[in-house]
């Protein structure tokens, strides 16, 4: 159901620092939702914990603000129990790639049809600026007492290696560009992730808007860049190219779509292949489990049929 006339912002005041990159991400999200005509009743914005994870409160749709790192895990249950819902997960780089990285990887393996938006500011914003998993070795952002001695994880490469079938990078200040990426990610069938570079104006004095200016370039500006797998035989080569591209950082930083594979079955498809009764139109969550009288659908007869192998008649002489 398309939704006209919906205001996609709530009246909740965003308590992010003035100039925070998260504002751009919410702006891009709401614009994308508007253009896609997403129905707030059938869309769920899920998040973990962090500055970025406050996002659901600012969006006028179902919002589930969970615990640190577990947004994807909550979203997994939401989506599988009701595959009719459109599910979008927001979280910080610490949330998704630190404490929640097991779920991040698992979502790729499953290719569940949902969208993940990483607010990548290289720091733990809400806890006052410690290093996040995307801060590089040797870098010392404002709150660090000494330069970081842990290596950074590469979100794009990790997503591809995990099995995500739509992998992109955006920039929070390029709202229209990001909006397009979000639209594509939502429309993509399968696990989609957008790593959004997002200046933290308070704690990150390295990756500032100033830093990104002039370094960022769009992948799609290269007419030869084609990230889409159109035939299974292309998969290895497209993955190799995307991985290669994902290493580029420094003077030139690519944003845009790195990799898309629309050919892989989603997890919902895989369940349906095993159990054809599982489908979007009749989600398990909405099935009747009892009659009007409250009696379970599995009554005495059904019980005996389903579990015949466990039932023994007692013959007494």
């Amino acid at each position: 159901m398309a939704s006209r006339g919906v205001t996609y912002r709530t009246e909740v005041w965003s308590d992010w620092c003035p100039g925070c990159g998260d504002f751009g991400i919410v702006a891009a999200m709401t614009k994308a939702f508007q253009e896609l005509g997403l129905d707030p009743a059938n869309t769920v914005v899920v998040s973990g914990i962090g500055c970025s994870s406050k996002t659901p409160h600012f969006i006028n749709m179902n919002g589930v603000h969970t615990i640190h790192g577990r947004g994807i895990a909550f979203a997994t249950g939401i989506k599988l129990a009701n595959p009719r819902l459109t599910v979008i997960v927001n979280g910080g780089d610490g949330d998704m790639l630190g404490i929640g990285v097991a779920h991040f990887v698992a979502l790729g393996r499953r290719n569940i049809d949902m969208t993940v938006i990483i607010h990548d500011n290289q720091v733990y914003g809400l806890t006052k600026g410690q290093a996040s998993p995307t801060l590089r070795r040797g870098e010392k952002t404002k709150s660090l007492p000494a330069p970081n001695i842990q290596d950074a994880v590469n979100p794009i490469a990790l997503a591809i290696a995990s099995g995500y079938t739509f992998v992109a990078r955006g920039y929070s200040l390029w709202v229209d560009h990001l909006k397009e990426l979000i639209k594509q990610a939502i429309q993509h069938k399968g696990a989609a992730v957008i790593d959004v570079l997002q200046p933290c104006v308070t704690y990150n004095d390295i990756y500032t808007a100033e830093f990104y200016k002039g370094r960022l370039y769009k992948l799609e500006d290269d007419p030869n860049w084609d990230p889409v797998v159109r035939d299974p035989s292309e998969e290895d080569e497209k993955i190799a190219r995307a991985l290669e591209k994902s290493k580029e950082w420094g003077n030139r930083i690519p944003v845009g779509v790195f990799y898309v594979n629309p050919l892989k079955d989603t997890y919902e498809d895989r369940i349906a292949q095993r159990n054809p009764y599982y489908n979007r139109e009749a989600p398990p969550a909405f099935e009747e489990i009892a009659g009007e009288d409250g009696k379970p659908i599995i009554g005495p007869d059904e019980f005996k049929r389903l579990f015949a192998g466990y039932i023994v008649k007692a013959k007494r002489s």
Binding site: A41, N60, H65, A73, A81, A106, A285, E287, A290, A314
Partner: protein
């Protein structure tokens, strides 16, 4: 004289067919109207360690508490004889492999050094040669145990010749040798055994045939020589139909009846069999008609399991997970989120021996207080614990009802004993089962929805996808589910959550939450929870036979605790005549009852070896406690 009860034990190396023995004999005896309870003890090991099944068959038609000594030990290997020689009743039977006669105790590499050392000391004290021959000779001479020696090698050779199977394949019929001998000695009829074998091997016709013939031949051979000395009297009663299943299976069946639509789990003993059972039934089809579909997800860890269960519950699906201690330890943060957000989830918690990995394949009741207090902050939760298979069945369904009616997490506390024990459970009364979904809304007016109205602790709960849209957060929230740290709001919301507990305490009948078994004028009282109920009720019967009139107070709901009822019962007893019985060290139920009622327990019977409480040791323990001992520690069982 025919027996009213038969106790036997079959032991062997893990992986050598013990499970088969139980899966064949339990339905076989049940098909003749006998009550059956079969426990399996095993190490955290796949192949090679000593494992055994311990079975009680009762002509009462009811599954009765396990006890020692046993009238029959069936030994698949030498280790079983060394381990269980002392479990055999004087005049009982030992079925064993003559080929193992020469085996010496020191040769048993798989035996734990502790046990080996204890046995060496005991054997030398009693003058027993530390060999199978020596032990067997002692049993025969000093305990009048009848020896049923069979040459397993000769039997395997005959199978190779007769059926053209390989030697390795022939070895796999080891369990049927024991089944045959037990059949012969107990006079179980051929049809009943065939029924048991068919259950187990239905899909493999040839294996089934060989097994049937082998069992019949061994039974006949044993019967010829020994008669039917362990013949049971005909069943004296019981239901017309049994469900023969483990606790894991029973809970899975109940969840399916209860309308489960989502289960997530991470593999762990002794919980995962439940989830595997549900997954095998993910599509509920009867006569080609689809009645429902269940998503079962094996997650990357227990944090994911419970988190996704909460997500699914928000969509209206009846959702649960099954785990044991280590897994629950990982779930506690998310549990708090569900508690804070009025989310109906069910956690089926099979306790095993802790702390840490502890005794991963053994039972305990040491997580009562943990489950009650797990997660930071304060929030209401319901905790149910079942005393036997049938209770576990009803409680697994009721757990969903309570979760949805009172909009809070429900922990269904079980233990490894119930999880793995096969019981002949009477067919549950499904006509009496009701599904109650509280204020769950699957259709709601379009628009933003005030999910947490201040004046309504149990508010309507439109699910995700119902038309309305809702917000949830782990932060303290306002009526809309948005973050709110205002102190006045905090006062109200905090209290709002706890009001649900008051309502639950008011609405859930106390006589469901606890049950008093026994005469009004009992002169002592046992107090327990969970599977302690099984040996406790049987111990009371035995004690009554000795002139001791006791009662058992079974606590089925630990939160909210039925404190008025407990108080009124406990106050009628002299505290010296009240004995709490638990599978833990610190007396967790006692502490909880004291905390809630002020009643001070003075007498404890405790067991924490990970093995079940056996009727015989409980009977002795009660007598000791009544004659002055304050703390009796039980430890029987290998």
């Amino acid at each position: 004289m025919a027996l009213s009860d038969l106790n036997f034990l079959v032991g062997g190396a893990q992986g050598s067919g013990l499970e088969t023995t139980a899966q064949v004999l339990a339905p076989a005896f049940a098909s003749r109207g006998y009550g059956v309870l079969a426990n399996r003890e095993y190490f955290s090991n796949i192949v090679g360690r000593h494992s055994y099944i311990h079975v009680r068959v009762s002509s009462s038609g009811e599954p009765k508490g396990l006890t020692y000594p046993v009238q029959l030990v069936g030994a698949m290997d030498a280790e079983t004889i060394f381990t269980h020689w002392d479990d055999i009743a004087p005049g009982g039977y030992l079925v064993y492999d003559l080929g193992a006669s020469r085996t010496r105790l020191i040769q048993i590499a798989s035996m734990e050094p502790d046990l080996k050392k204890r046995l060496q000391e005991e054997f030398s004290k009693l003058g027993i040669q530390p060999t199978v021959e020596g032990v067997v000779k002692y049993l025969e001479e000093e305990r009048k145990v009848k020896l049923v020696g069979l040459s397993f090698t000769a039997i395997f050779n005959a199978l190779v010749q007769k059926y053209g199977v390989t030697r390795a394949q022939a070895q796999r019929f080891r369990s049927s040798i024991l089944i045959g001998a037990i059949t012969g000695l107990t006079g179980l009829d051929e049809e009943a055994v065939a029924f048991g074998l068919e259950r187990r091997f239905a899909a493999r016709k040839r294996v089934l045939e060989i097994n049937k013939e082998l069992v019949a031949a061994i039974a006949e051979e044993v019967r010829q020589e020994y008669g039917e000395p362990l013949k049971l009297e005909p069943s004296r009663g019981g239901p017309e139909e049994y469900v023969i299943a483990t606790g894991n299976d029973v809970v899975a069946m109940a969840k399916i009846v209860g309308g489960i639509r989502y289960q997530a789990y991470y593999p762990i003993t002794p919980a995962s069999d439940e989830s595997v059972f549900i997954e095998a039934n993910e599509s509920l089809n009867v006569d080609g008609k689809n009645l429902g579909n269940i998503v079962v997800l094996q997650t990357e860890d227990e944090i994911s399991a419970i988190s996704s269960v909460i997500g699914a519950a928000l969509t209206g699906a009846r959702s649960s997970t099954a785990t044991s201690g280590p897994g629950f330890s990982l779930m506690v943060e998310a549990l708090g989120w569900a508690g804070k957000n009025d989310v109906p989830i069910v956690i089926t918690y099979y306790q095993r021996g802790g702390p840490s990995t502890g005794l991963p394949t053994r039972g305990s009741q040491s997580d009562l207080l943990f489950s009650l207090f797990a997660s930071h902050g304060e929030f209401p939760r319901i905790i149910l614990s079942s005393g036997d298979h049938l209770e576990a069945f009803y409680d697994a369904i009721e757990a969903y009802n309570l979760a949805e009616r009172f909009q809070m997490p429900v922990i269904h506390l079980l233990d490894k004993f119930l999880a793995n024990m096969i019981a002949s459970m009477p067919m549950p009364d499904l006509e009496g089962v009701k599904i109650e979904r509280g204020k769950t809304l699957f259709k709601a007016p379009r628009g933003p929805w005030k999910r947490f109205p201040r004046d309504e602790p149990l508010a309507e709960r439109p699910v995700l996808g119902s038309g309305a849209w809702t917000w949830y957060t782990g932060d303290e929230n306002d009526e809309w589910g948005h973050i709110d740290e205002d102190p006045v709001n905090r006062l109200i919301m905090y209290e709002r959550r706890w009001k649900k507990m008051e309502i639950a305490d008011r609405e859930i009948p106390e006589d469901f939450r606890a049950h008093y078994y026994g005469p009004k004028d009992a002169d002592f009282l046992l107090v327990g929870w969970g599977s302690v109920k099984i040996p406790a009720l049987d111990a009371l019967k035995e004690l009554e036979g000795e002139g001791l009139k006791g009662a058992y107070l079974h606590v089925r709901m630990l939160s909210p605790l039925p404190k008025r009822m407990l108080q009124s019962i406990l106050s009628t007893f002299d505290p010296d005549r009240v004995i709490v019985v638990e599978h833990n060290y610190i007396g967790q139920l006692a502490k909880l009852i004291t905390m809630e009622t002020g009643f001070m327990f003075k007498k404890f019977i405790l067991k924490w070896t990970g093995r079940p409480i056996y009727v015989h040791e409980l009977v002795e323990g009660v007598k000791e406690a009544l004659s002055g001992r304050d703390k009796v520690v039980l430890s029987y069982g290998k």
